[in-house]
Amino acid sequence: MTIALLMVHGLVAVALLGAITHQTLAAWAPVRARPGSFLGRFRTVPSASFTNAIVVLYLVSALLGAILYLYFRVDVRPALERDGHWQSLGLFDLKEHFISIGLGLLPAYWVLWRRPCADESPRMRAVLTAVIALIVWWSFLIGHFMNNVRGFGQ
């Protein structure tokens, strides 16, 4: 059951990673990117259309992670502590902290993409998207790393 949940969590995370990376690159790509170029094609996709999917995927991924965290604390972490993987545990703690901070950013992120004001700089929206992308990438990589150090069922 735990491993099935972990796999679903991983799949949701991959979808989230793809969506937020696409939106971030599109937001930061130069406006005058040559049509037909890699960046030009990125910009032609309406980035705002990713927003609802990203918010939902982030929430689902965080919820699945929060459930798995209970099993991790009981089944995996004691073994990591016993073996002295303190740096790995520190990296994992940072992942949890960053995810929480990202949760708090979701309303502002949604408003900036779905209800933009004319007097707001698109750069701010791009910065906030990049922050969330950083959180998602960090969480994905550290989650994968931790599972390699010691996964469920080992």
Partner: protein
């Protein structure tokens, strides 16, 4: 339009307040509740093993505070967000847009600082 501005104030205030309150909750260990996953018990407030019975109980029944810290930050941020919604629409919130980008980055740096002890073990 008015409700739209109020929603913006809520969203920006929530984002800024959540980041700040999460760091405070983490630094001061202010968890709204403590979870004991092996026992299936949730206690209101922050509880350390020595508060319950014996320091050794920490190995038998590990406590989790992350849920509580997140709940503390969310509760406080919700309150401040709703207060911001009550402010008059003429209030300018351009500064809020900048802070909602800067504050989480500062909060993440603070979290790194607070996590440094793990890397010194």
């Amino acid at each position: 339009m008015t409700s739209g501005l109020a929603v913006r104030r809520f969203a920006f205030t929530f984002g800024i307040a959540f980041a700040v309150l999460y760091v405070i909750a983490l630094a001061r260990d202010l968890a709204l509740f403590t979870v004991y996953p092996s026992l299936g018990v949730v206690l209101f407030g922050t509880h350390h093993s020595k508060d319950v019975a014996d320091p050794a109980i920490g190995f038998v029944a590990p406590a989790m505070y992350w849920y509580g810290w997140t709940a503390t930050a969310a509760t406080g941020a919700l309150g401040l967000g709703f207060l911001a919604m009550l402010l008059p629409d003429r209030s300018t919130w351009r500064f809020g847009l900048a802070w909602v980008c800067v504050t989480p980055v500062l909060a993440m740096i603070a979290c790194i600082y607070l996590t440094l002890p793990w890397f010194r073990l």
